[in-house]
């Protein structure tokens, strides 16, 4: 089933790379929600996530001809997305340095990412808060690898490709992140309650 989807996606990527607009649109539709979610959890702002997602797909359509293996479209797209998110945070830090955005904005955004989601329930807010607290306690690479593996559901090989690191390095970061996850009662209690 999964292999079928991967095959179809690779086929779409191949056609899109050859200039087929319909395939490109289908490819965008396939990844839209996934990439938006990935960006949302890294920016904690719906508006920023919308803008960045648009930019990511524009870049994807522009650079698709440079994709060597159509079967590797997912890690390739995540690589673009991660770079855009990194640029976003860098820009934000620069603006904050010049006083254009304040620390207060950052804190408000970090804790209240839910304000722009009217359909939120208490559990979802609590989950986001606990996830944020947990990932804040991880190093940059631990956080990125953990999120890509368990929130974005990338395989280790795909993470290695997206981050341009070896699989062993990815596993090491993942192991460290999981150790910290095991020591985090807040998030685990919430998940255990949900898993029952």
């Amino acid at each position: 089933m999964m292999a079928d989807i991967n095959y179809q996606v690779a086929e779409l990527a191949e056609k899109a790379r050859a200039g087929d607009r319909a395939s490109l649109e289908q490819l965008v539709n396939h990844f839209h929600e996934e990439i938006f979610r990935m960006v949302y959890y890294r920016t904690r702002s719906r508006m920023d996530a919308e803008d960045l997602t648009q930019e990511i797909f524009m870049r994807m359509s522009k650079n698709l001809s440079g994709l060597k293996d159509a079967g590797r479209i997912r890690p390739w797209l995540y690589c673009i997305a991660l770079n855009r998110v990194r640029d976003f945070h860098r820009k934000k830090r620069i603006l904050s340095f010049f006083g254009t955005t304040t620390e207060l904005d950052a804190v408000a955004q970090a804790t209240a990412g839910s304000n722009n989601n009217p359909g939120d329930n208490v559990m979802q807010k609590e989950f986001r808060l606990q996830l944020h607290r947990f990932t804040e306690g991880l190093s940059r690479w631990e956080r990125e690898v953990f999120m890509l593996r368990f929130v974005d559901h990338l395989r280790i090989r795909e993470i290695a490709e997206a981050l341009k690191k070896s699989e062993n390095t990815i596993k090491t970061h993942l192991y460290r992140a999981l150790k910290k996850f095991r020591e985090n009662p807040g998030l685990r209690d919430l998940l255990r309650g949900e898993a029952l």
Binding site: T53, Q54, F57, K125, L131, I156, K171, K179
Partner: protein
């Protein structure tokens, strides 16, 4: 005791979650037969699966459609940043032009005032010159206290010698 009989410790359970193939063969063998160790591993995996599911449920859905380069031209509303920029440029140009006009107008007013003052000065100087040329003798005898006009001329020559 053989390693095959030893239960996996916390580190090994975590490693098995990351990638079971990274465990030694004996530990892997134990894991495949020990239900207690499998439960430990499955418990972590269940929590992580739950995390993935909750992450999906707790994130909002995108509202905007993705626009690709070959899509139709945008609607009027989506051109609002361009309109806003254009309007700002027009206002800026108008502002610069208006301020230039103000400077010109105030400059003209200033020139007119200077011309007026110069004219007044010129008239005053002309009056002074006229006074110098044609001294109104009739006024000054009162000052000198003498009624004799000749005395007055002498008096003036005494005060302001001509040579």
């Amino acid at each position: 005791m053989k390693s095959k009989d030893l239960h996996l410790d916390e580190d090994q359970v975590i490693r098995s979650v990351v990638d079971e193939n990274d465990l030694s063969v004996s530990v892997r063998d134990h894991l495949s037969t020990c239900s207690a160790c499998q439960r430990k591993k499955e418990q972590i995996e269940k929590e992580l699966t739950s995390l993935g599911r909750m992450a999906k449920e707790s994130a909002p859905l995108p509202r905007q459609e993705i626009r690709l380069p070959f899509h139709k031209p945008r609607g009027l509303w989506s051109w609002r940043p361009v309109f806003a920029t254009g309007l700002a440029v027009i206002l800026l140009i108008a502002g610069v032009w208006w301020s230039g006009l103000l400077v010109t107008t105030s400059g003209e007013k200033m020139t007119a005032r200077i011309i007026g003052e110069t004219e007044n000065d010129r008239q005053l100087m002309a009056e002074i010159d006229a006074l110098e040329e044609y001294v109104p003798y009739d006024f000054y005898p009162d000052i000198s206290g003498e009624s004799d006009p000749d005395y007055f001329v002498e008096f003036l020559e005494f005060v302001v010698p001509l040579e």
